[in-house]
């Protein structure tokens, strides 16, 4: 029956657990890099197959200004596209779950939009927005991010414990108030899961879209040009830059998640005191 505040009791084991949690992926990552470097040194294949990690890292330093510039251009497209796509997705989910008419109009539209192979639209968007404009790449990211955010947020807004809605109705709460007090907090875990998936989607979408057009000083063109000139270490350096953008966005999403829903079981962990 009793619940004991657990913070004081668990601080020492918690530090240990945190250490274990961080050390495992670091050890795994270092091992992969060492095996990669060593096996290439042993097998010595042609350079285009796979450059060793050391060559990729030195390529980053040698071409730092170029890679940094390209990462900034592509990073801007990814971040703005991600934010715009998330906003459009959340607003659409709110409208659809709140108004029947909006649902009847927007839901089939959104679902059919998701069936379109969106990357395939890149050349068409280039024609619309101008071959060298970043706008078409941004639009690709927005559309791609929109769908998972919309579907998951809408699910979180509707999949609510019925008695919680009845409780609010028994208090004569307005529909809007029920949305604010019950539906939105309930949808937060769904939204953040979708946002995490969307970060990697956004990176892929932006770089692939750049293969077809947009600014020429971005990561996509840097990869195609370097590969075309058989400078594979530089191409890999650009890929690594894209990976780092994706990883950074994922981590930022995790931090936002912790700030937004500290109460959630995925953040707090299962409290052993509750029974």
């Amino acid at each position: 029956m009793t619940a004991v505040p657990s913070a004081a009791v668990t601080s020492a084991p918690a530090t240990k657990a945190r250490l274990a949690r961080w050390s495992a992926p670091i050890i795994a990552g270092v091992t992969i890099l060492v095996v990669w470097e060593a096996s290439l040194a042993l097998l010595n294949p042609a350079g285009f197959v796979l450059p060793p990690p050391s060559a990729i890292i030195s390529a980053i330093f040698e071409n730092f200004s170029e890679v940094w510039m390209a990462a900034r251009v592509t990073g801007f497209i990814i971040v703005t596209g991600l934010i715009a796509g998330a906003i459009v997705g959340v607003v659409t989910a709110l409208l659809v779950t709140r108004y029947r008419l909006a649902s009847e109009i927007l839901t089939p539209l959104a679902v059919s939009l998701s069936a379109v192979p969106i990357i395939a639209l890149a050349p068409i968007f280039n024609a619309w927005f101008g071959l060298l404009s970043p706008r078409s790449n941004q639009m690709i990211v927005v559309i791609l991010v929109f769908f998972p955010i919309f579907i998951n947020t809408a699910k979180g807004l509707t999949q609510v414990e019925p008695s919680q809605i009845e409780l609010m109705e028994s208090y004569a709460a307005s529909k809007w108030r029920i949305t604010r007090e019950v539906r939105v907090p309930n949808a937060l875990p769904f939204f953040f899961t979708a946002l995490k998936v969307s970060t990697s989607l956004a990176v892929i979408a932006a770089i692939v879209a750049e293969y077809f057009g947009g600014r020429q000083d971005a990561l996509g063109p840097l990869i195609t040009q370097s590969a075309g000139l058989t400078r594979y270490d530089e191409a890999w350096a650009a890929v690594l830059a894209g990976t780092l953008i994706g990883a950074a966005l994922y981590m930022i999403t995790e931090i936002l998640e912790r700030v937004a829903m500290p109460w959630h079981v995925s953040i707090r962990g299962n409290d052993p005191a509750a029974n």
């Binding site: 029956m1 619940a3 009845e166 028994s170 004569a172 007090e181 019950v182 907090p185 409290d271």
Partner: protein
């Protein structure tokens, strides 16, 4: 205020009216509940006891008949927040602390922050969990969560408490303890309680009247006056208590065999 806390007259509720899966959940029911009474609704599943409770709460619209709560039409009573409600699931909001959960109805009613905080603390003391205000609901056991839900339903001092199998998910020991707590609170607050259950012993132990309902269509088949006087620890072993349990059981049996 009217003498009757609840006045149900010739009320019917048909779900899916006119369709092939039409259900007569509640059929032509009359029920009057006086102020300060503790009335339980009992019956086999599908007898419409939960629907009747929701009709009183105006969470469900009747197909026919009229319902008054504290002398007002049920919907007006809901809009005026004349009753508090508790469900089988405690239904606490994980994103609010225990205190903030209790304060929720007070926020909706526009109480000031300090009024809300002091009221929440009073309610925590009423349900004997005064030190748990800052905890998160997930840190509490099922019985404690249910006590918080009761504190929340009583926070704004409603004269009527509607409860839908609130102890259904609890283990036997916790359940008996919660029944005693509820009777104590009922005694201390002069609240009228309408309580849905499928436990015969619970119905007899808690209530002044047991309303036995029958299914297909949902109707009241019998109303049994319990009349055991004040409950205490010996009541559960009292021969009079067992006699009333038998009376209710037989009433339910005749309902089942119809």
């Amino acid at each position: 205020m009217s003498d009757h806390a609840v006045n149900v007259q010739r009320v019917s509720k048909v779900f899916n009216l006119g369709k092939t899966n039409e259900v007569h959940a509640v059929d032509n029911v009359d029920l009057t509940i006086n102020n300060g009474e503790f009335v339980t609704l009992i019956g086999p599943s599908g007898c419409g006891k939960s629907t009747l409770l929701r009709l009183i709460a105006s969470l469900v619209e009747p197909t026919g008949g009229s319902i008054e709560v504290n002398g007002k039409p049920a919907e007006q009573a809901r809009l005026d927040r004349e009753y508090g409600m508790a469900f089988q699931k405690a239904g606490l909001f994980d994103w609010r602390s225990v205190s903030k959960n209790i304060e929720l109805p007070l926020e909706l009613m526009g109480w000031s922050k300090s009024e809300r905080a002091s009221r929440a603390q009073e309610m925590l003391e009423l349900v004997k969990l005064p030190e748990f205000g800052d905890h998160h609901p997930a840190e509490l056991s099922g019985g404690m969560q249910q006590r918080i839900a009761i504190a929340r339903s009583l926070a704004f001092n409603p004269s009527l408490l509607l409860m839908d199998e609130p102890f259904g998910a609890l283990d036997e020991m916790t359940r008996e303890h919660m029944q005693d707590e509820l009777l104590r609170i009922w005694d201390e607050t002069d609240t009228t309680v309408v309580f849905v259950t499928h436990s015969i012993a619970e119905a007899v132990y808690l209530s002044s009247r047991v309303v036995v309902m029958s299914p297909r269509p949902g109707q009241i088949s019998e109303i049994i006056e319990v009349g055991l006087g004040d409950r205490d620890t010996s009541t559960r072993e009292d021969p009079e208590f067992f006699k009333m349990v038998t009376v209710v059981r037989e009433a339910l049996r005749s309902v089942e065999s119809q």
